[in-house]
């Protein structure tokens, strides 16, 4: 009951955050130069046609007036309609979200075990070649631009070796294996950066834990080294790592923008890039808002997981 009350309180706190995101998204888009009416009409259309479209879309109204209209519709649950595709923002998001969620989750499933394993191994074998190799890989992961490494990966795994498709998405409904094959390469590329980040964090957390008295006690009692790490150190290592996983999940969703573009995946990342390029105001504003909701939800989930990982944290 207390947990539910706490969740409701946290959700209430999120309302002003989301409202700020909404207003910021609106102003940032309207501050950008460029006219969606010209995009819709085409550069070969005359000025009367462009003005007619501006009027139809309400773009000839003042900016505050447009903001009020948008917020009013938002309050009624109406995220608006894409001015480029004539498609409701929510329906466009519903179509693209499975792609982005699939990419994010597969990437997450790669990032977490690999990152933690690398980090714990580096800590366990501190100052050995294993530690150096893991830290070097982590450095490469966080330093190399995702766009560049993704193109190299396509050339290697799709063109030279022919193991994985170069682009495109296969829905889960068409089979788990084709779905996974289509996502494996983009998800791995997306995971690369976060694995580096997580490995460094897990290494440092494990090193902290390994210096604690209870670990020394476990060792003194004759518990095997692996059991000490697995049973005593690992769970305590997870506390800062859980905090990081929440951030990682959000970063993976953000990183999908570039990866979806390179691998031609029709997800939310590509939707938002296209919407920005074509100045599709409702689509950008609605998508940013939906992403803000998701980030708030992820943070809430992290809070709940905390209570499971660390019994000292309770909502009472």
């Amino acid at each position: 009951m207390k947990l539910l009350r706490r969740l409701a309180y946290r959700l209430g706190q999120a309302v002003p955050v989301i409202l700020v995101v909404a207003v910021l998204a609106f102003f940032l888009m309207h501050l950008l130069p460029g006219d969606p009416a010209v995009i819709i009409a085409g550069t070969e259309a005359g000025p009367e046609a462009v003005e007619r479209i501006r009027h139809q879309l309400g773009l000839d109204r003042s900016i505050p007036e447009q903001l009020i209209v948008w917020l009013w519709h938002l309050a009624q649950g109406d995220f608006g309609t894409s001015i480029i595709h004539n498609e409701s923002v929510l329906s466009a998001l519903a179509d693209r979200m499975p792609v982005t969620l699939s990419l994010t989750l597969v990437s997450f499933a790669i990032t977490i075990p690999v990152g933690i394993l690398f980090g714990v191994a580096a800590a366990k074998f501190r100052n050995t070649w294993i530690d150096s190799a893991v830290m070097f890989l982590a450095l490469v992961g966080v330093s190399v631009p995702g766009f560049w490494i993704a193109i190299l990966s396509v050339i290697l795994f799709s063109v030279t070796l022919g193991w994985l498709p170069a682009s495109g998405y296969v829905p889960l409904s068409q089979g788990v294996l084709p779905w996974l094959l289509a996502l494996l390469q983009p998800a791995a590329m997306l995971a690369l950066f976060q694995i580096g980040f997580l490995a460094r964090m897990a290494r440092s957390a494990t090193l902290d834990v390994l210096d604690q008295d209870y670990i020394r006690t476990a060792r003194a009692k004759g518990v095997s080294e692996w059991q000490t790490i697995a049973k005593h150190a690992f769970r305590n290592t997870l506390i800062p790592v859980v905090t990081a996983t929440g951030i990682i999940l959000s970063l993976l969703m953000g990183g999908s923008v570039v990866i979806e573009q390179v691998f031609a995946l029709p997800g939310v990342g590509r939707l938002i890039v296209q919407a920005i390029l074509t100045r599709d105001y409702p689509m950008v504003q609605g998508t940013l808002l939906a992403l803000a909701f998701m980030f708030v939800a992820i943070n809430l989930m992290v809070d709940i997981v905390y209570t499971w990982v660390d019994p000292r944290v309770r909502y009472d």
Binding site: G34, V38, E44, H85, N86, S158, G168
Partner: protein
């Protein structure tokens, strides 16, 4: 002087064309079946022919929809759903006799009622609706006759109707009140939409109700007798050029769009992939603002024109290109050399002299360009350097294409010079050029308004050509437009299909599996 790079590319094109001619010879069996996967630069945004203007949309639309007339292989107007067009001697009445028995993909026969409803919808929703502004009446005396009466003569009206952009396609009459971008995807073309996942792919399948124009010998551009051999065509959206190339190399695509010149090298020596050069595709052209600050000065505009070095600009961008002083492409009957004295002058000295004559005193000149198209960005950077050498105070303003296009169309953003790629006007003729001429922000210039009025009024081609020559000369001599070069679009294909021919917008009817 011979340009080795250009010559090599032209030879390359000739070789590709030769190979295609062999591939389409009588020894090759033409059979139905197979699917082709096309990796295009962007997703299909709309299938509404009355509003579509992006090439990715139009390439699919013209497989599904047809108009009364269409552009032929030589880009001139040819009958399509009309069997013939009669033009009254005064150039005001156009009588279209419709082909009988033509069916929509839903099985319904197309009649004059559908044509009338389509034109009425076009007037309501199309950004090109002003093209029908002079229509006084539209009549359907019988199911197979459609008559358009104009308020004033327009001998180019049929040419206006062939445009592939904002196509005058015929839709079923029931779609008359459908808003823009909200049609039912029913057309008379050889293919129909089977599946459409926005931002991802669109699949066309053969339209079994298609009735080909048997009076024609074969396909002729977007007109003629079309045969759908392929069972389906899948248009995948693959925006990243490297990924498109990887897709064709790894078998994930059979045909890919728009390969940047520098990346085309990666396909060199690949036996399985042929690079096809479509040239002319567009023309790189600088535009000078007729009504903004220092670019209202005739001599300053001429000085800018004197600096353009086509080879340096195109080579900087790694662009496949060709020299052409005209605002019209070479296949056009309106191609002319009247602009030759102002083409590719590359003379800093001449520019300096002109600036002196124009009393240029270091006023700022804004050159607006964008980062989305390499040839626009690099040509602008080269021009900016040349302008500095000539003593001009130039500010290079880099924006994205959306901003650039909006500023260019509306004359906003403070630019004096900008650059664009003009594609359909140079291919299709003066009627298509009119709106692009307005980018110089002088649509009310009497040379344009009187010129077009006279051109529309005369049925004598020689007279129309003379008038167009005058307009073209005026725009180039005044420096409102500064032609750089004709540029190519490079496309890649594997060897699985026969009879794929270079054309402005890619067609896949009369293409079959080898």
């Amino acid at each position: 002087m011979v340009n080795p790079r250009r010559t090599a590319l032209l030879l390359g094109t000739a070789l590709v064309a030769g190979g295609l001619a062999v591939a389409s010879g009588p020894a090759m069996a033409q059979k139905k079946g197979g699917s082709l996967v096309y990796a295009n630069v962007s997703a299909v945004g709309t299938m509404d022919p009355h509003v579509a203007n992006a090439v990715a949309d139009l390439e699919t639309i013209h497989h599904v929809h047809e108009g009364l007339v269409a552009m032929g292989e030589d880009y001139a107007a040819k009958p399509m759903l009309a069997s013939k067009v009669d033009i009254s001697p005064d150039g005001r009445t156009f009588t279209f006799s419709l082909r009988k028995g033509v069916k929509f993909s839903n099985g319904k026969e197309m009649t004059a009622a559908d044509v009338l409803a389509s034109y009425e919808r076009y007037k309501k929703v199309s950004p090109n609706a002003p093209a029908l502004a002079d229509v006084a009446a539209m009549e359907t005396p019988d199911p197979y006759t459609f008559i358009i009466k104009l308020n004033k003569p327009n001998s180019l009206f049929v040419e206006v109707m062939k445009t592939p952009t904002y196509s005058f396609s015929i839709l079923p009459a029931e779609q008359k009140d459908k808003p823009a971008r909200d049609g039912d995807l029913v057309g008379t073309g050889p293919y129909m939409v089977a599946e459409w996942a926005r931002d991802s792919h669109l699949v066309l399948k053969r339209n079994d109700n298609y009735v080909a124009d048997d009076s024609a010998k074969g396909p002729d551009g977007y007109a003629g007798k079309k045969t759908a051999y392929l069972d389906s065509i899948r248009y995948n959206s693959v925006p990243e050029a490297n990924t498109r190339i990887a897709a064709i190399q790894s078998g994930g695509a059979d045909f890919i769009a728009t390969i940047p010149g520098d990346l085309a090298k990666r396909l060199k020596g690949n036996k399985d992939v042929t690079v096809m050069s479509v040239i002319p595709f567009c023309q790189a052209t600088f535009i000078q603002h007729a009504k903004n600050g220092i670019s209202t000065n005739h001599y300053v505009r001429q000085a800018v024109a004197a600096l353009v070095d086509a080879e340096e600009m195109m080579e900087a961008a790694g662009q496949v290109w060709d020299r052409n002083p005209s605002l019209m492409f070479k296949p056009s009957a309106y191609h002319t050399t009247v602009g030759a004295p102002w083409y590719d002058q590359k003379s800093v000295e001449k520019a300096k002299a002109l600036l002196k004559q124009g009393n240029y005193a270091g006023e700022k000149i804004v050159l607006e360009t964008n980062n989305n198209y390499a040839y626009m960005r690099d040509s602008s950077q080269v021009l900016a350097e040349q302008m500095k050498k000539a003593g001009m105070n130039v500010e290079l303003k880099m924006v994205d294409w959306t901003t650039n296009a909006g500023d260019m169309a509306r004359g906003t953003g403070g630019w004096n010079i900008t650059i664009t790629g003009l594609c359909s006007g140079p291919l299709l003729g003066p009627q298509q050029w009119r709106l692009s001429l307005a980018y110089a922000q002088n649509p009310d210039d009497p040379v344009v308004t009187d010129g077009y009025a006279k051109m529309f009024a005369t049925t004598d081609f020689a007279e129309r050509k003379r008038i167009w020559d005058g307009i073209e000369k005026y725009f180039l001599e005044e420096g409102y437009l500064v032609k750089v070069a004709d540029i190519a679009d490079l496309r890649g294909m594997n060897g699985k299909f026969a009879n794929i021919k270079p054309y402005y917008m890619q067609r896949f009817w009369d293409v079959w599996v080898k």
